[in-house]
């Protein structure tokens, strides 16, 4: 993936943290309260597949990778297969 000519962040890390800290705290609290609410709710249990996606998403946040936002996007995305034209019956050959 290209990252050619990035302009970078002119704001020092501490300033970014100072600016974002309360918002990040509020968002973590919202997720925590949502998970508590799901646990308290009556049976049947919540969709295990989607609960697992949420857990995997939280694991990505705990990593030190530089592209956590992209990883979370990919986690919640349908997979791409190169043979989709054959699968759908959409011919792409001999065009143009």
């Amino acid at each position: 993936m290209t990252t050619s000519n990035p302009v970078g962040s002119p704001m020092p890390a501490q300033q970014v943290l100072d600016r974002e800290f309360l918002e990040v705290r509020a968002r973590i609290l919202k997720i925590a309260a949502t998970l508590d609410r799901i646990d308290r709710s009556a049976t049947p249990p919540a969709d295990a597949e989607r609960m697992d996606l949420i857990r995997q998403g939280l694991q990505i946040l705990l990593s030190n990778a530089p592209d956590r936002a992209r990883q979370v996007q990919m986690l919640f995305s349908l997979p791409y297969r190169t043979d989709w034209p054959q699968q759908l019956g959409v011919p792409l050959e001999n065009r143009g």
Binding site: M1, T3, S4, V7, M11, L78, Y80, L88, V90, R95
Partner: protein
């Protein structure tokens, strides 16, 4: 700062919004043809819509000193109806030489189906035959990555289309790199619910640079903010980015892309 909003659905907005955008520095906008919130029943509905886009909205914008441009198509949500889509595509050439038409758009995929793909390919054929610019809609949420990759496959399969004449909209963190790597323009749509925030758009500028990159508001009939581009400008300034970098994204880049259209005329103030 003067700016262009390259993707805003003004038919969904009030005249007060034109006044607000003018006060915030909007000097030009382009409005892609879009879904009305319900499926239209006939090609005649689209003829009236295209007149609204090429005549009425243009004059409404001009009252506030804003240059209004537009794109024509039948959108992906209505493309499941292939018969209707073909009637609309056959009608589009009637409108292509109107002076505020920039090209074919916003075409693309919504649920990544066979019929959507067929109609998308037929729009691309129209754009190639008439040498028109193309504006692309990519799907939202879990469909976005798959749909964007399918769209890129279809675009590169037609050798008549030049990547620098195609703008792929609604890119996010997982699709922007592929779009730019293949030589296309990319648009980041700022939207409070299902798309990108001004802060995440600023993050992508910091990671990917300013070449072939634009921001827009969508500003449609759903929960959206027509002032999203000024919000992005404000976010970039708060981070300490230069006026030159901001101006390139919100003014110079849209103009550079639009100037590839033979009909495009704009006089800076």
């Amino acid at each position: 700062m003067d700016y262009f909003d390259p993707h805003i659905h003004m038919v969904s907005r009030t005249t007060d919004d034109y006044a607000t955008l003018a006060r915030m520095g909007c000097v030009g906008m382009s409005e892609p043809a879009f879904w009305a919130g319900f499926d239209r029943g006939s090609a005649a509905s689209f003829r009236d819509y295209f007149r609204q886009l090429t005549e009425f909205e243009r004059s409404r914008a001009a009252n506030y000193g804003i240059a209004h441009y537009t794109w024509l198509c039948i959108n992906a949500k209505e493309a499941e109806n292939v018969e209707l889509s073909r009637e609309v595509i056959a009608m589009i050439p009637e409108f292509l030489e109107r002076s505020n038409v920039l090209g074919i758009g916003e075409i693309g995929l919504n649920k990544n189906t066979k019929n959507e793909s067929i109609v998308f390919l037929e729009h691309l054929d129209l754009a190639a035959k008439f040498n028109e610019l193309v504006l692309i809609h990519t799907p939202h949420l879990h469909d976005k990555y798959l749909g964007t990759r399918m769209i890129l496959d279809m675009l590169v399969s037609d050798t008549r289309l030049q990547p620098h004449r195609v703008l792929v909209d609604h890119v996010e963190e997982h699709t922007i790199g592929e779009v730019l790597d293949r030589g296309f323009w990319a648009g980041m749509t700022l939207y409070p619910v299902s798309k990108c925030t001004p802060a995440r758009a600023a993050d992508m500028v910091e990671q990917f640079g300013t070449e072939r990159l634009c921001v827009n508001s969508a500003g449609d009939w759903g929960p959206s903010q027509p002032t999203a581009v000024p919000n992005f400008i404000f976010e970039m300034r708060r981070r300490g980015h230069s006026e030159a970098i901001i101006r390139k994204i919100v003014y110079e880049n849209p103009l550079a892309f639009f100037r590839q259209c033979r009909r495009f005329q704009f006089t800076p103030r």
